[in-house]
């Protein structure tokens, strides 16, 4: 996935911002906070996960998503968002 694909989608950027702020959340809560529906949120998260930016942990039926801080790009994007938010 190219950088344009990540940042050209408002939905993906919103999801990334939410994960920076809250750290870890399940899909329904991410969808609620991002104002997106469940399917769209799931698709965005899938894409972000494929790009290595986020990862999930499964607890029974529940998946909890968080930023993948082991990925250098993930780390940088997190920093970028944090910086952006503090210098608004």
């Amino acid at each position: 996935m190219s950088i344009e694909d990540i940042f050209s989608s408002k939905g993906r950027v919103r999801i990334l911002r939410i994960l920076v702020e809250i750290e870890e959340l399940n899909i329904s809560e991410i969808a609620r906070r991002a104002g997106l529906n469940y399917t769209t949120t799931n698709q965005h998260l899938q894409a972000l996960e494929n790009a290595g930016l986020v990862r999930h942990k499964r607890f029974g039926r529940i998946r909890i998503f968080r930023f993948n801080e082991e990925d250098s790009r993930g780390k940088l994007i997190k920093k970028l968002i944090e910086n952006w938010e503090t210098n608004k």
Binding site: E23, L25, N26, E29, K57, F59, G60, R61, I62, I64
Partner: protein
């Protein structure tokens, strides 16, 4: 010019949730707890522990467990062991295993979803989290009565046997059960009861001198130097002692008396402030005590409060109490209990300090028990009981408004 005086140095030290750095007169019990859980620091994962702490209201059950938990977690951290102490009040969790486990999980994942799964799934999730984080958990279930009353044996059985099918895996989950009276355990099935009764720590009521030491500690922490005299302290300790050695009541009294002193612009907490505070802090109107009464004990007490509300009399006889109870039973559509049963209620309510009883004096025909409400406005108690009874009615019959 308005001059504002303040007897407090730090009133948060009198908060009900404050855990003091030392626990006077509970060293032995604290050492016992440390011994029970020594393995957590020395051989983590090799075993799990279940401990039962019992004792009356205000004997320091909660603070003992919290003090131990905080200390244990600190020591474990020093040794690089990921030990977590989570204190949950079962009554606050409405006696629901689901909510208790949820509180434990939120300690690890603060945004874990709050709906959409069963208590069993949560239990599995909790163990999974502990495994993944290589963590150990001591879960303290305070006011266990609520969990037993609502869920019976089942939830406790699940909590105590959580690790039985994980024989080779590290034992990560230990339990501290806190309850007022061990008699609640009688309603549990034999296996659950026996699991819990291995390690029991019984907290005796504090004596007057012990209460004085406890209150002295709190005065030093919360009040400015010289604002609470020894005689005032002794007076508060005496009142707390007469309430069955209830330290929590004493601390509450101390705080309220301090507030009165501030409101009256006094530079010192006077005995008069304590008396005013004592009139305010009704130890017997504590919701937890009233809540723990059985339905008919509550109905009987409601009858008594109604009698006093509409009468100028200081005492009512056993016969009058029975009459008032019969009216309440009719109102709540309950079959009234017999005289012997009501006599037992009187004894229990008297033991709890909610009512006071004495034998009728000369001048009255025959012998009867006279019942009074010591220092508690009947209207307040009636209001409280009506509220609790209507909540219970709604819970047992959710379709009726």
């Amino acid at each position: 010019m308005y001059h504002h005086t303040n007897v407090f140095k730090n009133e948060s030290k009198l908060d009900i949730n404050y855990v003091p750095p030392r626990l006077p007169h509970r060293h032995f019990q604290l050492n016992l707890l440390n011994q029970f859980f020594r393995f957590v620091l020395e051989n983590p994962g090799k075993m799990a522990q279940r401990v039962l702490i019992t004792g009356n209201v205000g004997t320091g059950k909660t603070v003992l467990s919290q003090h131990f938990g905080l200390e244990m977690a600190r020591k474990a951290k020093e040794r690089g062991i990921n030990l977590n102490y989570v204190h949950v009040n079962c009554r606050e969790c409405k006696g629901s295993l689901f909510m208790i486990l949820q509180r434990a999980i939120l300690n690890f994942h603060p945004h874990f979803p709050k709906r959409g799964y069963s208590a069993e799934e949560l239990l599995q999730t909790l163990i999974q989290i502990l495994d993944e984080q290589n963590a150990y958990l001591i879960l303290a279930t305070d006011e266990l009565e609520a969990l037993i009353q609502i869920g019976g044996s089942d939830p406790l059985y699940k909590l105590t046997r959580i690790q039985e099918d994980r024989l080779k895996a590290p034992q990560r989950f230990s339990l501290i059960c806190i309850l007022r009276e061990p008699k609640y355990l009688d309603s549990l099935d034999h296996s659950t009861r026996s699991t819990l009764q291995h390690n029991i720590i019984r907290l005796e009521e504090y004596s007057l001198s012990k209460l004085q030491d406890i209150l002295k500690d709190r005065v030093d922490l919360a009040f400015k130097y010289g604002t609470v005299s020894t005689s005032t302290l002794h007076f508060i300790a005496e009142l707390a002692s007469s309430e069955g050695g209830d330290a929590r009541y004493g601390i509450e009294l101390l705080w309220r008396a301090g507030k009165y002193a501030d409101a009256l612009q006094l530079s010192e907490v006077s005995p008069e402030c304590v008396r005013k505070a004592a009139a305010d802090v009704y130890p017997v109107v504590r919701k937890d005590i009233i809540f723990s009464l059985s339905l008919h004990e509550k109905l009987f007490l409601l009858g008594i409060t109604r009698y006093f509300k509409h009468s100028e009399a200081a005492y009512l006889s056993m016969g009058e109490a029975e009459g008032a109870y019969a009216v309440v039973c009719e109102e709540y559509d309950e079959k009234k209990r017999g005289h012997t049963q009501l006599w037992k209620y009187v004894k229990k309510l008297s033991a709890l300090g909610i009512i006071r009883t004495e034998l009728s004096s000369v001048g009255q025909r025959g012998k009867t028990t006279c019942i009074s409400l010591p220092g508690v406005p009947a209207s307040d108690l009636e209001q409280e009981l009506t509220k609790i009874l209507s909540t219970e009615k709604r819970r047992s019959n959710p379709h009726v408004n």
